[in-house]
Amino acid sequence: MHLAQLNVAHLREPLDSPALADFLAALGPIYQVSDAAPGFVWRMKEGDEPTDLIQHDYGPMLVVNLSVWESRETLWNFIYRSAHLEVMRRRRQWFHRIAEPYTVMWWVPEGHLPPLDEAMARLDLLRTQGPGPEAFTFKDFYDSSAAACLPAAAEVTK
C-alpha cells in the first residue's frame, strides 16, 4: 500500500496579489525537492509550471495539494526534514489559520492515483468522524494493515 496525503490551505489574499508572490516563488524549488525525495510516488499536477495550481470547485481561495508516498517515514522526512519546513513555517503570511483539520492521510493500493473528490471525501471523513483507518493524521496514525481490510480498499484493488 502507498500513503496518500491531501492538504488544503485558505488564502489570505487572492493568488495574484503581491502578498502571495513569495509563496508562488517558493513552489518551484519545493516541488524539485519533493519530486526527487526518497519515497515520492506521485503528485497531482494541473500543468507543467509549478505555479499551475490544482483547479477545483471549492472556491478561488482554497489551495490544495495531493500526493502519494511510499511510507509514513518518507512523507514525514519531506514535510518536516527538508527545505519544505522553512516554507511551512511562513504559512501564516499567506494562509489563514483554521481550527479544523487541514491535512489528511489514507492508504491507497499501489498504482492508484486518487482523484481530488476521493481526497476531499477523506478530509471530510476526518473532520466529521475524527481519525480512523480510512482518514488519519501523523498524530493519530493508522498502519496499512488496518486499512487493507476495509471494504473501500478491496473495491479499488479488484
Binding site: Y80, R81, S82, L85, E86, R89, R92, R97, K139
Partner: protein, 219 residues
C-alpha cells in the same frame, strides 16, 4: 524514570564503556570494533566486549556491514558495527516529568494559535541562556553544552542531535520554529552578529544550521 533507564545508565559507570559510548555517539554513523578500539586506546577484544554490553543495555544498536565499501566476492566478511540508539534514557531523582507537561503546553500553544508568542519567548530564552553561558562566549561551546552536538560541514555548523526530539516528533512545526528562534536568541546573546541561524533540517538531525562557524574555536 523506569528501572530499565536506571539499569541502562548504570552500565556507563565503567570508564572504558563511557569512552566507547561517547566515541560512537560523536561519530553519528556506524562504527566498527577496530576503529572504536583504536580511538579509545583499548584492545579490540575488550572494546568488542564493552560495545556488546552497551548494546545489551539498549544504549547502542549493532548491525553488520562491509567496511571495505566493496560488495560481492572479495568485499570481505561483513563486520559488526555500532551506532547510538536514538531514544533517550532519562533518570531523575526524585522523579520529575517535564516531558508530559511540555507536551501539554505545546498542544495548548497549538490550540491558542500562539506560535508567534512561543517563538518570541524562545528567542528571549536563547538570549538568557547565552548570557548564563557567556563565560566561554563561544558559539560551538554553548551549542555543545546545550547538547546540540555541533559539527562542521562545508563551512557551516550543523547539529547532530535534537535536544527536543520527543516534542519535535509530536509538534514538529511549532518546536522546530521555536528551536530556530532559540538559536537566534543564542546568537544575539553571544553577540555573534556575523552568523545566521537557518532552518535546514535533515532526517535524524536537528533542524537548525548556522551560516558560518564561530571565529576561533572550530574543531
Amino acid at each position: 524514570m523506569t528501572s530499565d533507564d536506571l539499569e541502562s545508565i548504570s552500565v556507563l559507570g565503567d570508564p572504558v564503556r563511557r569512552a566507547l559510548y561517547r566515541f560512537v555517539a560523536e561519530q553519528g554513523r556506524d562504527v566498527g570494533r577496530n576503529e572504536a578500539a583504536e580511538a579509545t586506546g583499548v584492545q579490540r577484544t575488550l572494546a568488542a566486549h564493552h560495545l556488546d554490553k552497551l548494546v545489551e543495555a539498549g544504549l547502542l544498536e549493532a548491525g553488520f556491514r562491509r567496511l571495505s565499501g566493496r560488495a560481492g566476492p572479495g568485499g570481505g566478511r561483513p563486520a559488526k558495527v555500532y551506532r547510538r540508539v536514538r531514544e533517550e534514557r532519562a533518570v531523575s531523582l526524585p522523579p520529575r516529568d517535564y516531558r508530559t507537561l511540555a507536551l501539554v503546553l505545546a498542544e495548548t500553544v497549538d490550540l491558542l494559535g500562539g506560535e508567534e508568542k512561543a517563538e518570541e519567548a524562545a528567542r528571549r530564552a536563547g538570549e538568557r541562556l547565552a548570557a548564563a553561558d557567556a563565560a566561554s562566549g563561544d558559539l560551538m561551546e554553548v551549542l555543545r553544552a546545550r547538547g546540540y552536538e555541533p559539527y562542521e560541514e562545508d563551512g557551516r555548523v550543523r547539529l547532530r542531535n535534537c535536544p527536543f526530539h520527543v516534542l519535535a516528533d509530536s509538534h514538529p512545526l511549532l518546536v522546530c520554529s521555536m528551536n530556530l528562534a532559540l538559536c537566534e536568541g543564542l546568537l544575539a546573546g553571544l553577540g555573534e552578529t556575523g552568523v545566521a541561524a537557518t532552518l535546514d533540517p535533515r532526517p535524524e538531525e536537528c533542524c537548525v544550521a548556522f551560516s558560518k562557524p564561530s571565529k576561533n574555536n572550530v574543531d
